[in-house]
Symmetry: C2
Subunit: 472 residues, 2 copies
């Protein structure tokens, strides 16, 4: 069992850490974007150096006080919010915000965990490089949280998840020891890969304090198109066609349902609308090519061939960088529009690529047996990752449907698992999906996860109750 943080504990820490580490715990640290979790009080600490973070973790390990790591607060599964149990120490990395080094010739950048994603993107751009991680919350999300949750986003198709973009990490392990793993090597086969274990562990195995990140060359020329496709199967065929024609130049391949456009029109009326009458299914395709290539011509050619093949019925090819930006603005505004409508239940799922049409075809009728809903299905089609979100009909509220919420979730997740899919493609488990992991997870894998957690964090201080239920 853990102990609550006490005044005596805080007073003792004050003798060993600079005053700047101690912060006022404002409500912002106890809230999360969808308002599903609300944190309790606790002690907010902001280490400025890895040694200070280690001092905090050692003190918590000794006193058996829980630690909730806090990045940008943008997580959607409650991983950053501890609602109940002994009051914890909340460790925010916001003071560790340095870009420690940029090795442009090696395509490597070393950033502290508190750097906001756009800051890292900007530092890469200033060095003539690209840091390809990109997602809707990039203006707030911090590197430590992005790595701890193995964040995905729109460029996974081309560049991989956050895990794939990390060459090395510095972290504080649950005993307060410092893992000095900021290597910037492309090949290093010296034992177990703790880096990849901590990435995606959502702060339950340690506190990531810095990372060596992979950069990519900046594409010399970019382009984008919105193409109206017949159905999800046509979207997949379009993806195959695009791969044949453009190969590795496809940076993103996003599916948008008509509901996305409708929700934006309803809740964000000032946003420029690409289609007067949005198609049922649209694909946003984004290209990043070399200097000698012409993305506009490539997209026009793709459009023509896909039209000929009956896959695409209409389309817009961006005629300028500003128009490409507008296309992306629409895509990136869908989560905000969704929040304004207010989902009854949101599902961040993945299935094998070829199963996507069957999954979508089956999900609607399955939900209809529970009630009448609006569905907004959108996401990273190229990765097999859909956000399948269920909303009340106009005039109803999510509160009206609260009694049906768990049945909806169960219905979708059961279906996903029947297709060998994942019930958390990119958002993680946090505290929201602990039961799902227990229900759907492979028993041998769960047992091994628990054994690893117990071995590295025997007192269970790191992000208690996230990913794995805290032992009672």
């Amino acid at each position: 069992m853990l102990n609550p943080v006490t005044d005596a504990f805080a007073a003792d820490l004050r003798t060993r850490l600079p005053a700047a580490v101690f912060r006022e715990l404002t409500p912002a640290y106890l809230e999360e974007p969808r308002g599903r979790f609300r944190g309790q009080g606790g002690l907010l600490l902001a280490p400025g150096r890895v040694e200070e973070a280690a001092e905090i973790v050692r003190a918590c390990a000794t006193a058996r006080v829980g630690i909730v790591p806090y990045g940008g607060g943008t997580g959607l599964v409650g991983g950053q919010i501890l609602e109940a149990g002994p009051a914890p120490v909340i460790v925010t990395l916001e003071r560790m915000r340095a870009i420690r080094a940029v090795h442009a010739d090696e395509n490597v950048l070393v950033a502290e965990a508190g750097c906001i994603l756009t800051e890292v993107q900007d530092a890469a751009e200033a060095a003539g490089r690209l840091f390809p991680l990109s997602l809707a919350s990039e203006g707030s999300a911090r590197i430590g949280g992005l790595l701890s949750t193995n964040a995905g986003g729109v460029n996974v198709l081309r560049h991989g998840n956050a895990r794939d973009l990390c060459l090395g990490i510095e972290a504080v392990l649950p005993d307060g020891s410092i893992l000095k793993g900021l290597k910037r090597l492309r090949k290093d086969n010296t034992g177990y890969d703790l880096r990849y274990l901590l990435i995606g562990a959502e702060g339950t195995l340690g506190l990531i304090t810095a990372a060596a990140l992979k950069l990519a060359p900046r594409p010399a020329r970019t382009g984008a198109a919105l193409l109206a496709v017949r159905d999800p199967a046509a979207a997949l065929a379009l993806l195959a066609l695009a791969r044949d024609r453009v190969g590795e130049g496809i940076s993103a391949f996003e599916l948008i349902h008509r509901a996305g456009f409708d929700f934006i029109a309803e809740t964000l009326p000032d946003l420029r609308r690409p289609f007067a009458d949005p198609p049922d299914w649209t694909v946003l395709i984004d290209l990043g090519l070399g200097a000698g290539q012409d993305p506009g011509a490539a997209l026009e050619g793709l459009f023509a061939e896909a039209f000929e093949a009956g896959l695409v019925s209409d389309g817009l090819v961006a005629q300028s960088e500003a128009q490409r930006h507008d296309f992306w603005m629409v895509r990136e505004s869908i989560p905000l529009a969704n929040r304004r409508i207010g989902a009854i239940s949101s599902h961040d799922i993945s299935v094998p690529l070829s199963a996507i049409p069957d999954f979508i075809a089956a999900a609607g009728p399955a939900l209809a047996s529970i009630g009448r809903f609006r569905i907004n299905c959108f996401g990273h089609l190229g990765d097999g990752n859909l956000h399948y979100n269920v909303f009340p009909m106009p005039g109803e509220t999510r509160a009206d449907h609260e009694p049906r919420r768990s049945a909806i979730k169960r219905c979708i997740h059961d279906l996903v698992v029947s297709f060998d899919g994942s019930v958390s493609a990119e958002h993680g488990i946090g505290r929201m999906k602990v039961e799902d992991l227990e229900r759907y997870g492979d028993p041998a894998r769960l047992a091994a996860m628990r054994a690893i957690k117990a071995a590295l964090d025997p007192a269970g201080i790191m992000n208690p109750g996230a990913v794995l239920r805290a032992p009672s």
Copy 2:
């Protein structure tokens, strides 16, 4: 402490497993390519299904009998050879050799651990796809061993290591439970990534029995060139230039020292020689491009610009696929020529890319303080990975230098570590580099590795003494 395998243990297993599982232990299972390790006897078992593998592991866990997993036997660090201690069970995966499924539309192939790498490459090709893992021993190495050692090879620059090519694994954990993780998802954030932990664990945390592997599109057009560069710094500048001009189309970028050509001339006189008088330093660059691109023209243009810039003094652009094959034959024959010369000490090292010229400049003089040697430095320059191998002068033998061997190794490894490099870039730790890992490894990381090993394999049966010293 482990127990030796006994007749009674074998007899008991025979009551529960088909006769085909029991194999004669021929000397081939007790040898390794460089002859540095020689295995003792034991019981050779060849499971044909994952359930049979699980039965074997459960029996060994109960009886506390060690298990040595055996793939293709091509490992260079003794990971597949147990020289001393209680006689083990050797588990060869050679009967689990099925390609279970090819999902060409998803770029995924599911292979059993006993598949030889070329078989997987061929299955991918038959489906119009590429399995990009490629290395000198691809005609013997098996998928299970390649994943367990996180194999590298010549295409890491473009496609990553074995770990990066694996979407999911099936494995038997040290308690005999079956990890059912053959997912073929690009995004799955449901808890700790055990897949990436077992990959690279060299059989010490479980037995990989099958894997879902990533395929890539086959490049429509390929090309290769051998370019004579001034020195390693010029090779790096050429790499940057090539990236600017060809981008992601560079499949491999290999550095070859003159010694490589000389050793081939000395030991493989029938092999076609690309240069009458080999340059001191040569780069082999390999391109894989789309249908609309011309690799020959790209390489000629690169050559011209690099010549102009003073980076390249001479060069050959392959005029046919046969000539490209000849270039690669030279590169892939260097390891065999090295074995025929007989290295005193071989070093599979990596350093940050920009440190390569300084490392090479420092290593020669450092070795000269120990004695006079021939050096063959070659490898995967684009990955920062060099094979820095030290040979006797003509007329001398490796045996003459045996007393100096550990001083040579120590000299090179100390230098590598001073550059923040790795003393095992792609071959792993096995049993040969356990001391190096103890000497150079981060203490917090080693402690965490030992804790994970103890948690998942409390009896220490899985590949005892590999990676981590067996507890005494």
